[in-house]
Symmetry: C2
Subunit: 208 residues, 2 copies
DNA sequence: ACAAGACTAACAAACGTTCAGTCGGTAAAA
DNA sequence: TTTTACCGACTGAACGTTTGTTAGTCTTGT
């Protein structure tokens, strides 16, 4: 099983190693299989040793979720010094297209399949856990604000019509979320048609 | 806790009562809290009694998932004897708008919040369990075929442009999935802006 | 009397958690 | 320089609880 990393740099302390292990266990066993024992096995520690680094499981999971969501957010939100239209298309390209034949100005790498799967699982916990719900809601909100700002820039620059930025932003982020959910939970299907429809929406309803 | 029913008619045999109980436990405790003990408590039985009705937990969960997905699919897929354009709009209205000020021709009730939450949780299991993955993929496919058929009818009837039905259908179903995920995992937010954007996409890119 | 359906009781395994103890290394005291 | 104390990191064993599951028994309607 090839599993990519939770951290940009290789984990330095044991705490980070533990979070990386949790990341892998969650991919393989799902949230209900995410036990201290399995995390410990993955790190190569006794399960009692986990309690030296984290006071309890809840605390460990909280740290873990924070890291995952931070990582996810950094993939979703990037500033770039290009035209609004170009920026919007770069975002959609990088998030929805699998092949990296990217003509993108800024190098935006899409969330990996593994990160997406974990993200979707954490999101699912938000259905019954209000702590998770708050964090997810916060991410959604910031993502939308980011998109709305781009659209507002486009309107100001005369590139976009006088649409409601928040409305379009909500639609875009909902669309992106749907694509992520598809990629993570269905059979691997090309999102190219989705991307095409999205572009034609922008062409015909948003751009001048 | 007000929980709506998994079955249209009140459950008749104990087997159905058990599935209904599982439905409620899953809402309250999530997938990792879905234990035989809690299901038994909810039905008012000893946990050993569950094993009189189902051979083991796997089998119970399989039946449960089948029921949930059937129910979900029947909400997603409805035939109606109206114009393609009207049918498409009825579908979007019923799936995305919360208030029931519906001017819909056929009475389409949207999936309840509880059903959506459970659906999203089951979907999340598909990230690491191939049995679930297959079922989810099958649902997605039938949902898309349903939408594609409507679009094809629209093209034939001269109401729609000569778009690629499958491409548009994929986009629509992805969009709907995103809305569901939003409703189930974020803070309760109005999907009205999403609906508006979707309509303007159809107006400007699909309808004649 | 018979079978359907629910019960009690017990099982091994896995769960999260605690705690006393061990080991290597570093810093202070002799 | 040797001894002592300390400390961070980890181990091993045990705890009480919950998990899924089985076996056997009792109750109830036919």
């Amino acid at each position: 099983m090839v599993s990519d990393d939770l951290f940009a740099d290789p984990p330095e302390d044991t705490q980070e190693e533990i979070l990386q292990a949790a990341f892998e266990v969650l991919q393989e066993q799902g949230y209900s299989g995410l036990s201290i024992q399995r995390i410990a096995n993955k790190v190569g520690l006794q399960k009692a040793s986990i309690y030296y680094h984290y006071p309890d499981k809840d605390d460990l999971l909280l740290s873990f979720v924070d890291h995952i969501l931070d990582r996810m957010e950094s993939d979703l939100i990037r500033t770039a010094d290009v035209s609004p239209k170009r920026q919007l298309e770069d975002i959609l390209d990088s998030l929805l297209l699998d092949d990296r034949a990217s003509t993108s100005a800024v190098e935006i790498s899409p969330p990996s399949d593994n990160l997406l799967k974990v993200f979707i699982q954490i999101r699912a916990q938000a259905t019954h856990n209000s702590d998770y719900q708050d964090r997810i809601a916060a991410i959604d909100e910031r993502h939308e604000e980011h998109l709305a700002a781009i659209i507002q820039r486009g309107i100001d620059a005369g590139e976009f019509r006088d649409v409601n930025p928040n409305q379009v932003a909500t639609a875009l982020s909902t669309f992106i979320l749907g694509s992520f959910s598809r990629r993570a939970t269905g059979t691997p299907v090309s999102l190219e048609p989705v991307h095409k429809s999205m572009c034609s929406y922008l062409e015909n309803s948003v751009y001048i």
